[in-house]
């Protein structure tokens, strides 16, 4: 989905941070992307490489750290792994699951100079 506007969002944060923290070049960007977040990492990488140049992230490397899907099962009263949004609880087979992780789309940190 809309990886291009997400990438623009990332560059916007980098520009803001460059001004706020006084760096002029980003060498590496580390993202945490949940496996249920509907972001396709490859497409994000493609977009990033397409528009990073002539920004503060000119030539920067993009590292994407995947985060697994997790949910709280109301019936079991505990957290369980969730491979898909519509999966059922692996322990009780129930469907009363509340997403508790895996939808993240975060910029974790930067290597800058």
């Amino acid at each position: 989905m809309h990886e291009m506007s997400l990438t623009e969002g990332i560059l916007r944060v980098l520009e803001q941070q460059a001004a706020a923290q006084g760096f002029t070049r980003v060498v590496k960007v580390r993202l945490e992307i949940g496996e249920l977040s509907a972001v396709d990492p490859e497409s994000l990488r493609f977009c990033f490489e397409a528009i990073r140049d002539e920004t503060v992230a000119d030539g920067a490397e993009l590292e994407i750290i995947p985060l697994p899907g997790r949910a709280f099962c109301v019936d079991c009263g505990k957290e369980v792994p969730l491979p898909h949004r519509f999966a059922v609880c692996p322990d009780c087979g129930g469907g009363k699951l509340q997403l508790s992780g895996g939808d993240e789309m975060r910029i974790k940190d930067l290597e800058v100079e």
Binding site: A19, I107, E111
Partner: protein, 330 residues
């Protein structure tokens, strides 16, 4: 809205003989905003502008303004370039960020939401795949409710002002936002559109998102609720094929039920799929053309509006009480 306004990726039709010059740009908010805009408005808006909001860097990019679509102040977005590159030398270091990529959108959304709540505006974000019947449902809803409520509509489509024209034909205020290549509305667009549209206090504001079952799910517009519309011709498995949208919505409207006799659509299975991705989702079965089931939709809107207004009354009463207390002391 404009306190953190980037506006780098925005083009707004200027050929409108209207209030352009970015007066809509927040710096002369005509609707009753209550958040603080404490930036200076020294934009000269011939687009060499120096926004001095917390965006930091001088914008030196070209805004490629579109001059088409003169109708009714509708807004058209193109693709904006990112920022500028300032070369420099120093040694490498790590900077912790821990920021949501959608943080910029969420900031605008929070401002929109505060503004909507402050003014008692019930904002509903209508999402669906193309052609589920959003505009048809809105036209019918306006016709049925316009004596009871003041109603305004923001129409999001990639191109054309067809939908806003259809809404205006009902007599309601509507503003078309063309997203260009964008596959969803974002909170920034909605903030600006709301400024131009000036919905009345205690009114209903419908936001018809771009027809797309994927992307609009991720973009909070500041709405009170997302309403997902699924027409029965689309197949009962859509909630599990596009789970994000159904997970984000508070209610699912199953539209075009007048066609059920001609289809093999399994309503119960569809509802079960929707509840699998979102156990709490409400379900309303309607036909926007025959009117069947619409009373349930209007009741849902009425309930949502009641709780919004109750919140507003409580806030105003506590303000009033504080004021009275001060007056007694004086």
């Amino acid at each position: 809205m404009c306190g953190v306004c980037g506006c780098g990726s925005e083009t707004i039709g200027e050929a409108h003989g209207h209030d352009h010059g970015h007066s809509h740009h927040g710096h002369s908010h005509s609707h009753p905003h209550d958040h603080d805009h404490d930036h200076d408005h020294d934009h000269d808006h011939d687009h060499g502008h120096d926004h001095d909001h917390d965006h930091g860097h001088p914008h030196d990019h070209d805004h490629d303004h579109h001059h088409e679509h003169a109708a009714r102040g509708d807004i058209h977005y193109g693709q904006g370039p990112a920022g500028s590159h300032v070369p420099g030398l120093s040694q490498a270091r790590m900077v912790k960020i821990e920021q949501d990529i959608l943080g910029y959108n969420n900031g605008y959304a929070a401002e929109n939401r505060a503004m909507f709540e402050e003014n008692g505006i019930l904002a509903l974000n209508l999402v669906s795949s193309p052609g589920s019947g959003k505009t048809t449902l809105l036209c019918r809803t306006i016709a049925d409710l316009k004596d009871r409520h003041s109603i305004a509509v923001i129409e999001g489509d990639q191109q054309t002002s067809n939908d806003a024209d259809r809404i205006r034909a009902t007599g309601a205020k509507a503003l078309q936002v063309n997203t260009g290549k964008g596959c969803h509305l974002d909170a920034h667009m909605v903030g600006h559109a709301t400024e131009k549209l000036e919905p009345a206090e205690d009114s209903l504001l419908f936001i018809e998102n771009v027809g797309n079952l994927v992307c609009p799910a991720a973009f909070d517009l500041g709405e009170a609720a997302k309403v997902v519309i699924l027409s029965v011709t689309e197949g009962e498995d859509k909630p599990v094929k596009y789970p994000d949208m159904f997970a984000a919505a508070e209610v699912m409207i199953l539209n075009k039920i007048d066609l059920l006799p001609y289809l093999s659509f399994d309503v119960e299975q569809c509802v079960a799929y929707a509840r699998r991705v979102n156990p709490g989702i409400g379900v309303l079965k309607v036909s926007a053309t025959s009117g069947e089931g619409l009373e349930d939709w209007y009741r849902w809107i009425g309930d949502r509006r009641q709780s919004l207004l109750a919140g507003r009354v409580a806030r105003l009463e506590s303000k009033l009480a504080a004021l009275r207390a001060r007056m007694d002391r004086a």
